[in-house]
């Protein structure tokens, strides 16, 4: 379990570290919000690009601080309420997906379908863990259902449910007999549908605690992002651990 503040700190570090380590392509954009958990579902999609657009371009919602390049899509304004408080950050990623299940039927001569994969990482206040939302949209802006194409009302996002996150994070952060992790958080209670009291972390100096939060989020993202091909690369991990 982590607190909202820890998530906020770790998420911003992740966005910064990712940007340092992996220029171009997929970037994370931190966006603070007071909306409760459900609000992270809402996002505004960027305008669709023509199929000839360069693949693997990424945009960030909303354009806070993110360098733009010719390949980036224009970011759209994010959710309305934005002040400090609850938390979320967003990523947009275009992937070439010639084997895309949906989108408009492509003739044999058309270029590969571009899928826009939008991911949000938000903090779940009840489970006290990060949650990942994602949505895939075809080149004409039509959302893609997993395995089937159908219009989705109000473009709901798919979400990886947080109840497994706790158990997984416990595995990842539980110190082993010869663990080299310093300051690994004490094992939290196993996944439970009820919110439990926060487990106090061992007292740490602020920089060490922040480093731990970055590693926590990298660890979490390495699991949650895998089905979407969004794993943080090893280099990022090595950088965070050094």
């Amino acid at each position: 379990m982590i607190t909202a503040e820890e998530f906020a700190a770790g998420a911003q570090m992740l966005a910064a570290a990712w940007g340092r380590c992996l220029a171009g392509d997929t970037q994370w954009c931190w966006q603070a919000s007071t909306h409760p958990f459900a609000a992270s579902v809402r996002t505004v999609l960027p305008p669709p690009l023509p199929p000839e657009a360069a693949p693997a371009a990424a945009g960030a919602l909303p354009p806070t601080d993110q360098p733009s390049s010719a390949q980036r899509k224009a970011g759209s304004p994010g959710p309305a309420s934005t002040s400090s408080g609850d938390v979320g950050f967003a990523i947009q990623e275009e992937e070439e997906d010639p084997a895309s299940v949906a989108g408009s039927p492509a003739g044999s001569s058309s270029p590969p379908q571009l899928l826009t994969l939008t991911c949000h990482v938000a903090y779940h206040p009840s489970y006290r863990v990060p949650v990942l939302y994602f949505e895939a949209v075809g080149p004409n802006g039509v959302p893609l259902g997993l395995g089937a194409e159908h219009p989705l009302l109000r473009r709901p996002f798919y979400m990886l449910h947080p109840c497994q996150t706790e158990a997984i994070m416990q595995l990842l952060t539980n110190p082993e007999d010869d663990s080299q992790l310093d300051g690994a958080p004490a094992a939290a209670a196993a996944g439970s549908r009820e919110a439990t009291g926060a487990t106090a972390l061992p007292p740490q100096a602020a920089p060490a605690a922040h480093g731990r939060m970055l590693r926590y989020l990298l660890a979490w993202l390495s699991v949650a992002g895998q089905p979407l091909g969004l794993s943080p690369p090893v280099e990022l991990w090595l950088q965070a651990s050094s």
């Binding site: 997984i168 595995l171 990842l172 952060t173 699991v223």
Partner: protein, 90 residues
């Protein structure tokens, strides 16, 4: 990374977590991707899902080259890959 021959083998030690069965160590070509280790364990354990991670606390992308992970994280020439039968996601 280091200039290893294309067919260089690396030693993997699978370490179980919880109630997963224990396996011996194996060798695999470092140029293979992590997905190959995942498939190997899935077949060995007869499970659809096996959660694999490094004790440094992350779960490698299936696309990572094993040699990269080995170079970075091997101890005593062996890369320890933890595995558990906890379903990672529904």
């Amino acid at each position: 990374m280091s200039g290893q021959p294309a067919d260089s083998k690396v030693v993997i030690l699978f370490k179980q977590t919880g109630d997963a069965p224990i396996l011996k160590q194996n060798k695999i070509d470092g140029q293979e991707r992590f997905a190959k280790l995942v498939d190997f364990l899935r077949k060995k354990l007869g499970r659809d899902q096996v959660f694999m991670y490094l004790k440094e606390a992350f779960s490698p992308s299936p696309e990572e080259r094993i040699a990269t992970l080995h170079d970075a994280f091997a101890v005593d020439g062996r890369l320890v890959v933890n595995y558990a039968l906890t379903p990672a996601w529904g």
